[in-house]
Symmetry: C2
Subunit: 337 residues, 2 copies
């Protein structure tokens, strides 16, 4: 595994600079997130704040704010959209945790474990509605079109994932379609809305959409890789979580495709398709992945999509922010958490 770990070149200075640039706006986003949780029932702020306060990387709202800056936008609506994007993301996480029966999220007990499935589903619905209320405040139907479409695609992606789960016959193209729908669609919407909001014109708005789409794919591939190569303390999830859930992710598909005989294929079928796992199975999976460079290939794919994300931004004039958004791609791909 050491060579895989060596592949992680922390490149978070672009992120630091972007975060610094949008720090004031992110403060305004946090205020909106907190204000919008006000409700006549105290369970809603409790359940939602548990997850939102746990932090996470806030990559999506930062992307919305930075994209708006890149387009020269100076109005008040970017922070509303950034908050809406984070609410949609949070709502999908809450529903995911119910669907997956998750035990932990962001290193803390998952909401469904603390409050049960019922409030977790309903608070997700609430946040989703609040997100649309925030978009309405911008007065832009185009923004609402982009994010309502993304939301439908995300739900479709989650349903597709149910069909591919535990199924090693999932093709690379099917797997990519799932990743694109369940993860990249919100990244793409998060950046595209800023183009629409700023009146940046169709070409730049489309470039921002492509940037978010490719970055989201790269992000999810890196996430899948991390599950077999990451630092459990840093990710807040245990190494092999995906493995134990029998999740069909890119490293697993790579390893299965590279299996050398029926015995190895039978191993993958047992542990992933039948979810019949014993002590030592994770070690063996990691050994096979190492031998066949399954994780590295996943990261190579992530870097390829990352390169496409960077290229999309070339339509914008050179600027320190454009450089940093391109640099952010490396951070997302080669992060260790």
């Amino acid at each position: 595994m050491t060579d895989v770990m060596a592949a992680f070149r922390p490149a978070d200075k672009p992120l630091d600079r972007i975060m610094e640039l949008v720090r004031g706006d992110m403060g305004a986003v946090d205020t909106i997130l907190s204000d919008q949780l006000n409700s006549s029932t105290d369970l809603i702020p409790k359940v939602a704040a548990h997850l939102i306060a746990a932090g996470g990387k806030r990559v999506r709202p930062v992307l919305t704010l930075a994209s708006a800056r890149l387009c020269g936008y100076e109005g008040d609506n970017a922070v509303r959209l950034a908050a809406a994007v984070e609410f949609i993301h949070t709502a999908t996480l809450l529903h995911d945790d119910v669907v997956d029966g998750s035990a932990t999220r962001r290193g803390k007990p998952a909401a469904n474990r603390l409050w049960g499935n019922k409030p977790t589903i309903l608070v997700g619905d609430f946040l989703f509605s609040r997100a649309f209320q925030l978009m309405v405040e911008t007065g832009s139907v185009e923004v609402l079109r982009i994010l309502s479409t993304a939301s439908a695609v995300i739900a479709e992606g989650e349903v597709m994932q149910l069909a591919t789960a535990n199924n090693l016959a999932t093709t690379e193209a099917d797997h990519l379609a799932v990743i694109r729908a369940k993860t990249a669609a919100l990244f793409a919407a998060a950046t595209e809305v800023s183009g629409a909001l700023s009146g940046a014109g169709p070409e730049r708005t489309e470039a921002l959409r492509v940037y978010g789409d490719c970055l989201g794919i790269a992000f999810q591939l890196a996430d899948d890789a991390l599950d077999y190569a990451g630092d459990a303390g840093a990710t807040g999830k245990e190494l092999g979580d995906d493995f134990r859930e029998g999740k069909v992710t890119a490293p697993v598909l790579n390893a299965y495709a590279a299996a050398r005989d029926d015995e190895e294929r039978a191993f993958w079928k047992r542990v992933i398709e039948a979810s019949d796992q014993q002590n030592g199975d994770l070690d063996r999976a990691m050994t096979l992945m190492h031998r066949d460079r399954a994780v590295e290939r996943t990261l190579e794919d992530a870097r390829r999509y990352g390169a496409q994300a960077k290229a999309a931004l070339e339509i914008f004039p050179a600027s320190p922010l454009r450089d940093d958004l391109q640099g952010l791609v490396d951070y997302v791909v080669d992060r260790d958490r």
Copy 2:
């Protein structure tokens, strides 16, 4: 129970006439509902169509269409909004069935029983997003404002209901707040959007909102009454379903408030708060309700709100449609299913 049944005066001629008036539009709504279920995954149309095809009363989309007619609207967008309203309603039913662990819905096995909780939650999310996409097609931010707000209120109402469930200390005002949020909010939005869409002006739009709000409250109170007085074959749910789930509904609160001694209060606490029920408990509950007119009082409340719904429409010039929308109130309150 016979006197309660006698109180049901089927008055469905107004509904028949309204249905006839909007028949063509409802055909267009059904086409949209069916077209919008198209998806790259076949599980979504399957799960959604199961519920949508089961029919239900389609009261909400009919209200949207009829309200638009009342305002003289002649464009294409009323059918889109009617479909959006029905999608939001369907999404909440799917999530409700997961939250309540329902066995049946509209006389058929509930989606969660046939496909499990995961697809049921996710298809709900999908329909919710599709509803917003349909609203976006109308190009009206005001419509999006009304329905996103209603959606947030509905989710809040569902969360409030978790807190009042199995709790006989629920006050009448608390119970009304829950009913208003979880049921009346969508009725109110279904009628208000037509005013907004038609450019009917603030006074008429507000009158339509009040009509929907009061009608929704009356509808839910009648629904609660039906559970203790309805015809199981016609409602598609068994008599006493709410009772078996220990639901705190208006008839139960009325009966509990009228309890004559500690033994009776202890009975209600055991069957509703502790959900500890034995053979004969439903019969005893019905006997106590009969003695204290608990169901009839609920229906009296429903009629009072119904009268307010009718009064709200007086701002519109007299017309056969206005008469029928007022007559619809009686049908909703005194229906037998």
